[in-house]
Amino acid sequence: MKALALVSAVWLALASCAFGALAQEGFDDPALNERYRALISEIRCPKCLNESIAESKAPVAAELRREIRRLMGEGASDDEIKEFLASRYGEFVLYRPPLTLKTFAVWAAPFALFVVGAFVFWRILAARLRQPLDDEPLDEGPPS
């Protein structure tokens, strides 16, 4: 038990170190820093499987964060930064790709599936409602 507590203490300390390293990079201005945090959590790391560049420890993620800080420092807007990244790494890196003909299916699928689901639900419900009510009493236990 004691060992477990020690291990978790060490682990927590290490975890906060790792977080601290990432927390150090950013901007002194809180508003700018918040924009930076939001932006890097919306950019997918091109080298890792489904990690944002905010979470990833891959070198390319650190380099892309550096580029984003540089561009933000030069006054680029979020859209300009996303355009910068997408033109080099493809729309793959955007967790929220723009609505184009190519990405239409991705955006439309949830709504389409919802409509299909609602239709099936309605059909089942309608069929059930048409069935006569079963008036026989429920079995209330073993015969006495």
Partner: protein, 186 residues
């Protein structure tokens, strides 16, 4: 009838989709740069800091651009084949990323230097312009300065035959690729 056909068709459709999905490589990211002009960059050469490797260096001829680093194990793998291509006369330009200059020079002198010239890019700054995520990566550059192809992972004779040669045959004008016969594209 419908209540059997619809689920069956749905099942088969989803099955085919998932089966194809299983066969896909999740690490494969299609390059945004294929078909586009080579990005603007300018780097000092690894072996001679006075010499510049840049967009202009690559203009006007067919070449390969190979991303490498001494930290990259897979680069060691493809190095022999790169040397073979260079001996056959293919102009290969290096993009040395996230590396130490002394280590890179040592690598080239020990293993042989297949590159016409290698740009030294320790911070992967030019690499980002090229959409580089790691190494090795190899780009095929057309005479007009368009990126014709990008290959991620080591370049092997098989990949060369399959992906690069057909593109070379298609895009090499008369006299553009004097090396073509020597690299398998008679």
């Amino acid at each position: 009838m419908w209540r059997y056909v619809v689920p069956l068709v749905l099942f088969l459709g989803i099955g085919v989709l998932f089966w194809r999905g299983l066969g896909m490589n999740p690490n494969y990211v299609p390059s945004a740069l294929v078909g586009k002009p080579i990005p603007t960059f300018s780097l000092p050469s690894v072996t001679n800091p006075q010499e510049i490797v840049s967009t202009e260096t690559l203009a006007g001829h067919v070449s390969l651009v190979n991303v490498w680093g001494t930290w990259c194990v897979e680069c060691r793998h493809e190095h022999g084949f790169l040397l073979e291509l260079a001996r056959a006369g293919v102009p290969i330009y290096g993009l040395n990323v996230r590396d130490d200059r002394a280590a890179a020079i040592d690598w080239l002198s020990r293993l042989g230097d297949p590159y016409v010239s290698s740009g030294f890019d320790p911070d992967n700054k030019a690499g980002i312009e090229w959409g580089v995520t790691g190494a090795p990566e190899t780009f095929l550059i057309g005479r007009d300065g368009t990126i014709l192809h990008k290959h991620i992972s080591p370049l092997t004779p098989r990949i060369w035959q399959r992906d690069f040669l057909p593109l070379l045959k298609e895009h090499c004008g008369p006299g553009d690729c004097p090396f073509l016969a020597a690299v398998g594209g008679s």
